[in-house]
């Protein structure tokens, strides 16, 4: 019954989407001919709105099936089991391929519907095109769900005894009702599963909104920065979710993958990272268009690339083209994704070429050291990292096509190629905020930067005196110190200036400073978050150490100033069908007892798979990461441990948090500033002419 409601809602939503596309297209065509078309366009808008309740009904049906354990449905059978807690049964909605495609469509329809509810008075002409682009994207995903990856297909036994999987009951067949499901892959049974995939997906789908507006601007020839101003908040929200998704995924990997890793340059990680890179370049570059009327074509290219990388990212995670720990889902929908990406890319670029001459810059770059030039360098660096990632992902495919020989490039390729680019970006983060718009010289820049520069030199001298000699690490620490001092200096400068002018206390001045120019000061907080994350990355990449050993009860292992002593081990069954082996180890630091850790290994009966869960002691200085590798089954007299010492890695998570806070600050409404901004460009233009 519920399956049929879900299937029906899914089919209807596809029909409504297709109708909406038709209505929007016909409406704009009528409009073009000068006939009244408001009714058609309004109808397409309502079709867009209607997809949300319909897809909600489909998604909620699937959730109901997952929660009630209807193992007759193949998807439910494959992703849940009786032993799983309720929250994991619900998250199984995005635990497999067909469910995650439905989830994608659900989020997409929610966002697109929200957009159609905004006030459109000033931007009437955009509406049909925004609806059209959103609905085409949505219809593509719904079509995949309906025809290729239907989450509601069920098991049947036909009269002649064969077992089949089908949506509708084959004639005379009886349903097969398995007693229990196979359960979610244990690696996915983690609280990270609740937040990481939805955040990534939210980031993915919300980037479609700025793209839809960009296309609308191109088609309607309204090529000023209006589309950028409308979608500024959307872009920031998309970026916020995508960043959050990446950080959470990284933390999840650190917690469950068992080697203290946080990022493995896995093709699927890269697939999520690429739209983030293009989106980050876009976020920076639109500021130049708003301020100086430059880079209009470039911004169009960036948002088009971001959109197609979002689709490409979904394709990579969902098609199994590339061997990867993440690619647990394989199916034949790959060619369709390729077709859709190719089609939208070609159509968007053709549209851009058609409007090429209308997108002329209103000014030009004057000085190599001006703020806008440095923004351009920033864009080139982000595009450089993107090119490295893209090349790493497609080079194996190209090489196989050309030479017939399969090759791969692993993490060393990415680390080597992106390392200098990341370093350059951090350096740029330190310098760019101090350069002036329009015209800037070495002299003005030097005058602005010498104080924070001296501070960074003092910090690095202290680090050298403390015994650090590794040149690469010193360079990295210096870059971090420089950017941190510049950022804090900029803040201090702004706060003091405001305090002098208004007499506010420092906290009030700080608050008002950020509130008056959220994007700028939110941006500085984001920069601060990035350098803190860089600190964590340098710590774990350059100074991680490890040891291992089999020890008897009472014996110890030492690493990085820590000593762990094996005390006890217990093996027991839990009521959610796990067999748990849990060790107790006492931890000492420099001879002083500081507590206990409980590394364990869980064996999942339903999926017949073990999972290693580390015992971690985390401080801002370093992490002690203890894994239980093996133990004597009966006596538990001795056990084998592997220990990692991960210096500074906590700064990675702290930096991630600061980063997210900064994005929130930047995305909040800029109330105080709004009215001025509307007048400012007009005033500037009259002054210039």
């Amino acid at each position: 019954m519920i399956e049929n409601i879900g299937t029906g809602a899914l089919y209807l939503s596809l029909l409504v989407s297709l109708y909406g596309i038709g209505a929007a297209a016909y409406g704009t065509w009528q409009q073009h001919k000068g006939r009244p078309a408001h009714a058609w366009i309004e109808s397409s808008r309502r079709a867009m709105l209607l997809t949300f309740p319909l897809i909600s009904a489909a998604a909620l049906s699937l959730i109901a099936l997952l929660v009630s354990g209807s193992y007759n449905v193949q998807y439910v059978y494959n992703t849940t089991s009786d032993a799983m807690p309720l929250y994991l049964k619900i998250t199984a909605l995005w635990g497999g391929q067909s469910g995650s495609l439905l989830f994608w469509s659900w989020l997409m329809s929610a966002f697109a519907s929200a957009v159609t509810l905004r006030k459109w008075e000033r931007d009437r002409e955009f509406l049909p095109w925004v609806v059209l682009v959103s609905l085409v994207t949505l219809a593509f995903f719904l079509m995949l769900s309906v025809f290729f990856e239907n989450p509601f297909v069920r098991f049947w036994q036909t009269i002649d005894g064969r077992q089949v999987v089908a949506l509708l009951q084959p004639a005379g067949a009886t349903p097969i009702q398995p007693v229990d499901g196979r359960g979610l892959n244990p690696l996915l049974r983690h609280p990270g599963m609740v937040f990481h995939p939805p955040m990534l997906y939210l980031g993915f789908v919300s980037f479609i909104i700025p793209y839809a507006f960009a296309i609308a601007a191109l088609v309607t020839k309204r090529v000023d920065d209006r589309w950028i101003r409308i979608t500024r908040r959307w872009t920031l929200v998309a970026w916020l979710f995508l960043s959050l998704g990446l950080v959470l995924g990284s933390r999840w990997a650190y917690d469950v993958l068992g080697w203290g890793g946080y990022w493995g340059w896995d093709p699927v990680e890269i697939a999520a990272f690429m739209p983030w890179l293009a989106g980050t370049a876009f976020l920076h570059s639109v500021m130049i268009q708003e301020k100086r009327g430059l880079f209009k074509r470039w911004n169009m290219i960036l948002i088009i690339i971001t959109y197609d990388l979002v689709i490409f990212g979904t394709f990579l995670t969902r098609s199994g083209v590339l061997s990867s720990v993440h690619a647990f889902a394989q199916s034949a929908i790959g060619p369709l994704f390729f077709g859709f990406i190719g089609l939208t890319l070609v159509a968007s670029l053709a549209l851009l070429l058609w409007r090429w001459n209308d997108l002329r810059s209103e000014g030009q770059l004057n000085s190599l050291l001006s703020r806008e030039s440095l923004f351009l360098v920033n864009n080139l660096l982000f595009m450089g990292i993107l090119a490295v990632c893209f090349w790493g992902v497609i080079y194996p495919l190209i090489s196989e096509l050309v030479t017939g020989q399969q090759v791969t490039v692993g993490p060393p390729f990415y680390e080597r190629a992106t390392g200098p680019l990341f370093a350059a970006l951090i350096f740029l983060m330190g310098v760019a905020p101090l350069s002036a718009w329009g015209h800037s010289t070495w002299k003005t820049l030097g005058k602005a930067i010498w104080k924070p520069f001296i501070v960074s030199l003092i910090i690095i001298t202290v680090i050298i005196i403390k015994g650090m000699r590794n040149p690469a690490a010193l360079l990295a620490f210096w870059l971090v110190a420089l950017t941190t001092s510049v950022t804090l200096y900029e803040y201090g400068h702004g706060v003091l200036a405001r305090r002098r002018r208004t007499g506010e206390s420092i906290p009030v001045a700080l608050w008002n400073l950020a509130a008056r120019n959220r994007r700028r000061y939110g941006g500085y907080i984001i920069h601060l978050g990035v350098v803190l994350m860089a600190l964590g990355v340098v710590g774990i990449e350059m100074f991680q150490s490890e040891t291992q050993g089999t020890i008897r009860v009472g014996e110890s292992l030492s690493l990085g100033g820590y000593t762990i002593t094996y005390k006890d081990l217990a093996v027991f069954d839990t009521n959610d069908q796990r067999n748990v082996a849990r060790a107790v180890v006492a931890v000492q630091k420099n001879g002083r007892p500081i507590g206990e850790l409980y590394p364990r290994r869980d064996f999942f009966y339903d999926s017949q798979q073990p999972m290693t869960i580390p015992g971690v002691r985390s401080t801002m200085e370093d992490d002690l990461y203890v894994l239980l590798v093996d133990w004597e089954a009966i006596s538990s007299e001795s056990a084998t441990f592997k220990i990692y010492h991960n210096p500074l890695v906590n700064w990675l998570w702290l930096g991630g948090l600061v980063f997210i806070i900064g994005t929130l600050v930047a995305a909040l409404p800029d109330k105080e500033h709004q009215p001025q901004k509307a007048q400012y460009p007009a005033a500037l233009k009259t002054a210039a002419s």
């Binding site: 097969i176 061997s323 030009q364 090349w391 680019l421 894994l627």
Partner: protein
């Protein structure tokens, strides 16, 4: 506007083009040199056995794990097992009924080329019979593969057409 009248504008533009080209050249250099430095051949067990020139160099190999051969010494963390050859081409795999079936059949087929593997480290949770092992490392002159990196996939777990219990429950 004044592009063709005043030379400073052109001069200014040249400056930017040179700067931009330098950055792009640096990026291209990084990509090309890193590709050359870290490309690894991705071979099947069969290819590795039949191409002696691939011995003693970093390669990536994919094969199916034979469960009976897994030996783990917890004291030294030395892990030994044998892998059998499976096709690398997705088309061949699809033609033979999908990865799960290919792995299952390859593990039973003793005529396929096999190589012993040594790996030092924590025993991976997914290592078991009929798992696909994707390994990076070198084969020594005795034909033993020394894996530095070990990645495992068990495709059967995630998507399977018809449940096994279904036979018993109906």
């Amino acid at each position: 506007m004044q592009q063709n009248t005043v030379s400073p504008a052109t001069q200014g533009r040249t400056k930017f083009i040179i700067g931009g080209l330098l950055i792009i050249a640096a990026i291209v250099y990084l990509i090309v040199s890193s590709t050359q430095a870290s490309t690894q051949y991705f071979l099947t067990v069969e290819e590795l056995v039949n191409r002696p020139e691939m011995a003693n160099r970093d390669v990536r190999v994919s094969g199916v794990v034979l469960g009976d051969t897994i030996q783990y010494d917890a004291d030294t963390l030395d892990l030994r097992f044998t892998v059998a050859s499976i096709p690398a081409d997705q088309k061949d795999i699809d033609a033979q009924g999908g990865l799960a079936l290919v792995l299952h059949n390859a593990a039973l087929d003793s005529s396929l080329p096999r190589i012993p593997v040594i790996y030092n480290g924590v025993m991976p949770d997914l290592l078991k019979n009929e798992a696909q092992a994707i390994m990076t490392g070198q084969m020594d002159d005795n034909g033993v593969f020394h894996a530095e990196e070990l990645l495992l996939k068990c495709p059967t777990r995630y998507e399977e057409a018809v449940p096994e219990q279904a036979n018993t429950s109906n």
